[in-house]
């Protein structure tokens, strides 16, 4: 009896882990809502505003997918996930996709049974310190206390970086960006480390951003992208090509302002295919003709989304850098719509 109960609870723990293996597209359509895993609160990427409406760079991707699949960008339920809970939330079926500053790595793609479908932000890990500390380089952080989000790639990079440079440090393990912010502001750590974009976003939310500097060293590659569960290729295709549609739209000059006009008048065959004026690409992934058009209309093309949430005109003030179009010397490159 005891053994049976034990096995029972074991299995119960794993029961939820298998839900949602079936056809995610059909599930989402039947539910009428997209469950999108986002950050618990990182201004510019995903954070609820004063009215509880989620906004941000990652949120816009959720909205684009919802618009493509359900026809309405508002039909998204945002599930805040921490560095620790995000992959479990995805593999258990609690969310249909993750758009949450998650780094694409080998083991996550294979062993964790996730599928990263693309990169929406090429990032790298950096350090933020108070300017009155007098530190100008990460190499001067020997012996420092460093706040680090547990369960992230940055945690591993940090350990590797300090080992490689023969320096010591004292980690302070935190669970979410908000907790990191609080500990860092209280002076419980000398430096806060996470993706450079996350640092910029965190700093923008401070009352005194000018008193904090982001050190020049970028110690890792952090390609951040949306992820879906392994094993549902069609759903992966939908999220992947929705992202490509946003990137391609910027490349071909399709914006939320001129999209209606272009969909009727554009003579560019690639734009015609993208917007569904000629070929019916949507049918190949189980959607209708205008899926990409709706995705782009949700919050604009990739460039518009970037500018509105994290670009140079926002308090976060990130430059396009690596995230510029390939035609502008960046790495954003949509595969051909054909």
């Amino acid at each position: 009896m005891k053994t049976s109960l034990f096995l029972g609870s074991v299995a119960a723990a794993a029961l939820t882990a298998g839900a949602g293996m079936a056809d995610t597209l059909a599930d989402v359509k039947a539910r009428g809502e997209l469950n999108c895993g986002v950050n618990t609160g990182l201004v510019g990427f995903a954070a609820p505003d004063a009215n509880g409406n989620w906004t941000g760079f990652d949120v816009d991707l959720c909205q684009a997918v919802a618009a493509a699949v359900l026809g309405d960008p508002a039909k998204v339920r945002y599930v805040p996930t921490t560095g620790q809970t995000r992959f479990t939330a995805l593999s258990s079926g609690e969310v249909d996709m993750l758009a949450r500053n998650s780094t694409w790595t080998f083991s996550r793609d294979t062993d964790l049974a996730l599928d990263f479908v693309g990169v929406n932000y090429y990032d790298g890990q950096g350090f933020m310190v108070r300017s009155d500390l007098g530190v100008t380089s990460a190499k001067e952080l020997d012996g420092a206390t460093i706040c680090i989000q547990t369960g992230t790639t940055t945690e591993l990079n940090l350990a590797d970086y300090f080992r490689a440079n023969n320096m010591s440090y004292q980690p302070v393990n935190i669970d979410s960006n908000a907790e990191g912010e609080q500990q860092y502001m209280a002076g419980a750590c000398d430096a806060y480390t996470t993706d450079a974009s996350g640092l910029a976003a965190t700093r923008a939310a401070f009352a005194d951003p000018e008193n904090h500097i982001i050190l020049p060293e970028i110690i890792s590659k952090e390609p951040l992208g949306p992820a879906v569960r392994h094993g549902d290729s069609n759903w992966g295709d939908i999220v992947r090509w929705t992202l490509y549609a946003l990137i391609a739209a910027e490349e071909y000059g399709v914006t939320s302002a001129n999209i209606e006009e272009l969909s009727s008048s554009s003579q560019n065959p690639e734009v015609q295919r993208l917007l569904g004026t000629t070929d019916d690409l949507g049918a190949m992934i189980g959607l209708d003709k205008e899926w990409a058009k709706r995705a782009i209309m949700a919050s604009g093309n990739y460039g518009e989304i970037f500018a509105a949430n994290i670009g140079e005109q926002t308090p976060i003030g990130l430059t396009r850098g690596l995230n510029a179009q390939w035609t502008q010397g960046g790495l954003m490159y949509a595969m051909p719509f054909r």
Partner: protein, 418 residues
Amino acid sequence: MTDVRAPQNASFRPSMLIYDRRYRSLTFQVIVFVLVMALAWWLVNNTIQNLAAMGKTFNFGFLWQRAGYDIPQTPIPYTSDDTHFRAAVVGLLNTLIVSVLGCIAATVLGIVAGVARLSKNWLIARLMTVYVEAFRNMPLLLWILIVFAIFTEVMPPPNAFRGDDPSASMILFDHVALTNRYTAIPTLAMTNDPGSLDLGARITFNWATLAFAAVLIGGWLARRAINRWAQDVQDRTGVRPTTWWMSLAVMTVPSLLLIWYFGLHLVAPELRGFNFTGGLNVQNGLVALWLALTLYTGAFIAEIVRAGILAVSRGQSEAAFALGLRPRRTMSLVILPQALRVIIPPLISQYLNLTKNSSLAIAVGYMDIRGTLGGTTLNQTGRELEAILLMMGVYLTLSLIISAGMNVFNARVKLKER
């Protein structure tokens, strides 16, 4: 000879399985057993199928992979190059550290508070009532967070100790620094270090530690022998020889000699670079968790102690006084032995609670086994089922060991019924 005979023509009919009292209970037991087994089979099968569908296997191989992350508090040597298994062991040791510290402190606090609540002094008794009710009736997690917040928000950062006119200063003759990251305390150092005993797997034991342990145990045994001898003399002559100075001597003199021989001294922490070095930096996570666990569990233990003392009838102490026993001897010879009988069993569950509650460590970033094996390792390897099962096994084992140990103790102190 018995009159009861088996019914004649005892041919078995299926309806007897329900209507015959001889078979009924058996029938139901078989049915329940089959149902439970079916449920278990279904759950296990479901798990296996779903794991297979996700392309995940069930194995513990991940324990031998490189962990790659650092842990703030490492009782045994650990670097990010070590395995996940070693990280789990480090976490387990951290769990044990906070649990043992918590159990000891909570017991002391609980006894003091429990006795004080029975005090005839109105103020002390009321104060203890407030303490007990406040801590018993609010969630432990809140207390942990409150204590932690007080430490991180109120204490000064290490660099406040810097400069000619620092805004913060060390206490206890410049030996202890309370900061918002850790409490820097002195460490022990030896001028005449005898070296270490290597236990393998980079775990070492300093010979001096073993020497002190041996001397302390020896002193305790010697003290018992002295007491036995005193008892013996008292039984023969009726006069108990004065033994306190002998007990004191065997307990302390060898230790003092060892301290002198090894040249044991304190090394005070010093502010160097970003942080205090040289001493031991006890993280605020540990201090906050330990304090909160102590205060919370102490409140429960106080009530247990109070109940135990009240359970001994007043006539017992009156009888003892009538026999001429002094109050202290009355307490140790009459009341306490009877109170302990009531106190020990619920005390066991408080120790178990404290140990299990220590898994709330994650809230303050203290890396116990929930933080290493069930936190970072689980997350980096994606082995949820395996990690959670291992943790369940670890906590189960810990609890059973505590129960077993306390049950042995309970058997020794409970009333001997003859």
